[in-house]
């Protein structure tokens, strides 16, 4: 095997065709999992963010604990394009195992930072990439005795190098170290020292900064940087959840971890030091959702979080909750299925199984958050909706949203806001009902919206008790197999489901027609939801710049409101962007709104990595080419 030494791999002067530009780049870190690179890589992302430049970091990791390749990718985009982008401008290649493939991802003219303590395999050398060799291992061997420190500080040192190469303000990094080790001040100095080692090495040995670099801006406003799962956990605290039953599964586990973390801080009874919450790690997802149903039936706000396999196990119980009309909040952080699929890769592939979860005629309410802020808002709101509608509400997050940090509008809470506990009779109301000579009927549709009044166990000594069951019953909750009663009940449930449409988050219209007017004769629309938002909106911009102007509608809930129907009927063709193979949302639209399937065109990505604007553009262009559309000619 032919190898080259440091002197052979040039730290040559920059060439004219090297990638250049300010604040538009993708930096990819290739690491081995279990080596402590995550916090160093996070520090890099956060430093750019603190310099006022929008970023979008993504973890790409295997279903494994130690020793396999993992990647961390940060897209820096001053234009605010926060979807994933293919192609790497700067690769930090720390994993020999994956190096061959990693090198291929670098764009022509890109840069590759590597550890040149050992010579590089010649076959990994590309003519069109600038190699930046730093003797990371050698520096660590010299500076540190402890093997663990040698490993950990290697990560910090390459962050120091990057800072010099990309012109990241060093003081921003030292501030971050200070924040990270608040309370463990002993660790600050060694970390800053490691940053210095890298920073100085790069400054001494290379022309810093590179032609591609970061420059301070004021473009992030009051945004926060947080993962969707943290936001969901916090939303559950704010939304008043007191009982959580759960079973570990990637990528949902950190929802409960976040709930627990925040609850331990914010939900301790000041008088007694006891918990104003209860978390039970269940024996499986059946028990987890069972606990939620029991708690909600008994008047608490309760939730669970899982992923596709868990939703499958919960299916029977979701039918019970639908039919017995028990509120439930379920967070589905979707991952690539079917079966165990790719457990650490993202998809939006539980749409159908969640929308129609369970046997019989069931329909479930779905919410589609796109950002951490929406995870927070929708989770808090889900408790109101579930209790108002007395039915399960499923929050359809995904791995990309849940486990990656996203730049997001800050969380807000109106202190005037009260929880909507829905239609619940208390003891006094039951007394009044009796005084008015009326009989309490658990399933009487008094208000005509399909939503009936319930009571909590323990309310009144001789009024308002009823029997909850999954079998059919009459309006007074008495068991019956009478066909007419059954049908009346099923129709009321349908009415209730329709009542939900007004209460759910409405879709958001996004039009690029300010760029160029839309031709009346060729009105094209794009429907998208969840984490396809950033890439879709970027794609819409790109297409508009090429003269293909279209309207976008971001769906935020199922059942679909009238706006969705109107949007589809107002457009000649509608592209439906989603991250699954079977175009599940499209099927749901066709099925529920009775749309002519020909009108809805699939734009799909389901390889497990977040969808990109490039994919969306190319699929839309493909459709246009096939359709021979006049209005959507390629520019």
């Amino acid at each position: 095997m032919s190898q080259v030494t440091l002197s052979q791999v040039s730290t040559r002067k920059l060439r004219s065709d090297d990638i250049s530009g300010v604040n538009e780049l993708v930096v990819r870190f290739a690491n081995t999992n279990g080596t402590g690179s995550a916090s160093a890589n996070n520090m890099f992302a956060k430093a750019v963010f603190r310099m006022g430049v929008p970023i979008s970091p993504k973890n790409i990791f295997p279903s494994n604990i130690q020793g396999l390749p993992t990647w961390y990718e940060v897209r820096v985009s001053e234009k605010g394009h926060l979807g994933r982008r293919e192609g790497v401008d700067v690769l930090v290649a720390m994993n020999p195992q994956s190096m061959a493939k990693d090198v291929e991802m670098v764009l022509p003219g890109g840069y590759l930072l590597y550890d040149n303590t050992k010579p590089l395999d010649l076959r990994l050398i590309r003519e069109d990439v600038t190699y930046i060799g730093v003797p990371l291992t050698e520096i660590c061997l010299r500076e540190y005795q402890d093997p663990r420190q040698r490993q950990l500080f290697k990560n910090i040192i390459y962050i120091g190098c990057l800072a010099a190469l990309l012109d990241i303000e060093f003081s921003v990094l030292t501030d971050l170290v200070g924040d990270q080790f608040k309370g463990k001040e002993k660790l600050v100095a060694p970390n800053v020292h490691a940053l210095e080692l890298g920073y100085q090495y790069a400054r001494r040995n290379f022309d810093c900064p590179l032609k591609v670099r970061v420059e301070r801006r004021d473009l992030v406003g009051d945004s926060i940087l947080v993962s969707g799962n943290s936001a969901t956990g916090l939303g559950a605290v704010y939304g008043g959840a007191t009982v959580a039953g759960w079973y570990p599964i990637t990528p949902s586990t950190s929802v409960i971890e976040a709930f627990e973390k925040y609850a331990r801080r914010l939900r301790i009874d000041p008088g007694t030091g006891k918990n104003n919450f209860a978390i039970a790690q269940a024996e499986d997802e059946l028990a987890a959702i069972g606990m939620v149903i029991g708690a909600c039936w008994n008047g608490a706000r309760s939730f669970t979080a899982t992923s596709g396999p868990g939703v499958s196990l919960m299916s029977e119980f979701l039918g019970l909750a639908y039919f017995a009309e028990v509120p439930v909040v379920l967070v589905d952080v979707q991952r690539a299925g079917p079966s165990t699929g790719m457990p650490t890769r993202t998809q939006q592939s539980d749409i159908t199984s969640a929308a129609y979860a369970s046997h019989g005629d069931t329909k479930q309410i779905l919410l589609f958050p796109s950002t951490p802020r929406e995870c927070f808002d929708m989770t808090a709101q889900a408790f109101d909706l579930a209790e108002r509608l007395q039915t399960p509400v499923i929050i359809m997050s995904d791995l990309d949203l849940g486990m990656n940090d996203h730049m997001s509008a800050p969380f807000e809470w109106d202190d005037e806001r009260t929880y909507d506990r829905g239609k619940v009779f208390d003891a006094e109301q039951l007394e009044q009902l009796a005084r008015d000579g009326k009989r309490f009927g658990r399933y009487l549709d008094v208000d005509g919206d399909g939503i009936c009044y319930r009571t909590y166990p323990g309310t009144h000594p001789n009024k308002g008790a009823f029997f909850t069951r999954g079998t059919s019953r009459d309006k007074y909750a008495i068991y019956t197999e009478d066909g007419d009663e059954y049908v009346a009940n099923m129709e009321r449930l349908q009415r209730k489901f329709n009542s939900a449409k007004k209460l759910l988050p409405q879709p958001l219209l996004k039009t690029s027609s300010e760029v160029a007017p839309i031709q009346e004769s060729e009105r094209y629309g794009v429907i998208y939801f969840g984490t396809s938002d950033a890439a879709t909106e970027e794609a819409m911009e790109q297409l508009a710049a090429d003269g293909m102007v279209m309207d976008g509608l971001r769906l935020r809930a199922f059942p679909f409101s009238r706006e969705v129907e109107t949007f589809i009927s107002d457009h000649n063709r509608v592209f439906v962007v989603e991250q699954n193979r079977d175009a599940q949302l499209r099927s749901l639209l066709v099925n529920e709104l009775e749309i002519d399937p020909k009108k809805l065109l699939r734009v799909l990505n389901y390889d497990g990595s977040p969808i990109t604007a490039a994919t969306i553009c190319s699929k839309i262009r493909q459709h246009c080419a096939q359709q021979g559309s006049a209005g959507l000619r390629q520019a």
């Binding site: 914010l266 939900r267 069972g290 149903i293 708690a295 039936w297 929880y419 166990p457 323990g458 008790a465």
Partner: protein, 350 residues
């Protein structure tokens, strides 16, 4: 079966301490087969709650699916009930109890419901020591689906179709003991004398109280070859001891011969009196209980009575340090941290 329900109430029908009559603890008419053991258990629950003067609406009754799981409709009509899905009563009860620790929880299940489809949930609710009374109405068959063998059908027991069971049974009392249940008993639906005080003691127990009640299915499993028939159990039952239960508030008036009676004081101050215990049996010793169950089984006998009790149990709420108030009673003021806190959380995320 059907019979006419009367609204007639004798003016002198006895009332309990709270002024309720037995009728206030009854439920809808049973639709089970006449003579079904499960109906006797419902009746025992009614007696136990009436005699204990529990406010009916402070009880929640939960069940899975099966003839046995239907029974909560037939007792405590003023209590909320939840007939859930097959084998999952334990998780529903766990959630309910976490939400409101102030109610009394009675879970009713069958041998199919608990020993087959629900074995996992049974095991976990026992090991979490959830504060509840868990009753298995054990008829050694699947009643509602017409008599198939269940996981508690005894070895060589012959069902109505003449088929003998070739698989080892699961003994739920034995299992509960091994899983750390803090109150374990076995009884027989036809033995109200024993069953009612056991239920009362179980409801006073602050933790997981399990009673395996042998409850013959007259339609599918009450034939000569069955080991869960009335005749078989009557002939082969031996009790660990006979028991009296004295609730906390009640003064102990009866005098017992010293030496023949063991007194067990439960956490809430109520007392169980055990008379004429079988030789060498200690109700505070799990191993003693396990040994006694096994010895009797080998002799072809059914050991009933209180098998084990821990008088100072640590229940799930103790373990997870939940607040004393029911979580369901907490409102925005103690649940929602407010906008000020959110601002500082936002700051920490920049």
């Amino acid at each position: 079966m059907s019979y006419i329900i009367t609204n007639f109430r004798h003016p002198l029908s006895p009332t309990n301490k709270l002024g309720f009559t037995r009728k206030d603890y009854e439920g809808a008419l049973s639709t089970l087969c006449a003579g079904c053991g499960h109906d006797s258990i419902s009746s025992a629950i009614i007696s136990a709650c009436f005699e204990m003067s529990i406010e009916p609406h402070r009880v929640a009754k939960l069940s899975g699916i099966g003839c046995s799981s239907k029974t909560p409709t037939y007792f405590l009509g003023n209590s909320h009930g939840f007939n859930s899905v097959h084998g999952r009563m334990p998780s529903i009860t766990t959630g309910a109890n976490l939400a409101n620790r102030d109610l009394t929880y009675i879970g009713v299940s069958g041998d199919g419901d608990s020993a087959s489809i629900g074995l996992g949930q049974f095991a976990h609710v026992a090991r979490r020591n959830l504060n509840m009374l868990y009753i298995v109405e054990n008829n050694g068959c699947y009643g509602l689906t017409k008599g198939q063998n269940s996981a508690t059908t005894d070895l060589d027991s012959v069902n109505k179709s003449g088929v003998s069971n070739t698989f080892e049974p699961i003994d739920l009392a034995n299992l509960a003991l091994q899983l750390g249940a803090t109150f374990v008993a076995r009884s027989f639906s036809g033995d109200k004398q024993q069953l009612v005080p056991l239920m009362k003691a179980a409801m006073s127990h602050r933790g997981f109280a399990f009673i395996d009640v042998i409850s013959p299915c007259v339609t599918f499993n009450n034939n000569p070859g069955s080991k869960k028939s009335y005749d078989f159990v009557r002939e082969h039952q031996e009790a660990t001891s006979s028991i009296d239960f004295v609730p906390m508030e009640k003064e102990i008036t009866t005098q017992y011969d010293p030496g023949t009676t063991q007194e067990v004081t439960l956490h809430d101050g109520s007392v169980i009196h055990l008379h004429k215990a079988i030789e060498g049996f200690n109700v505070h010793d799990r191993r003693s209980a396990l040994r006694a169950i096994k010895d009797h089984q080998e002799r072809g006998e059914v050991l009933t009575g209180l098998l084990y009790v821990d008088t100072d149990p640590v229940d799930l709420h103790d373990v997870i340090n939940t607040t004393h108030k029911p979580l369901s009673s907490l409102t925005e003021s103690s649940l929602c941290p407010g906008s000020g806190m959110l601002k500082s959380i936002n700051d920490s995320l920049r």
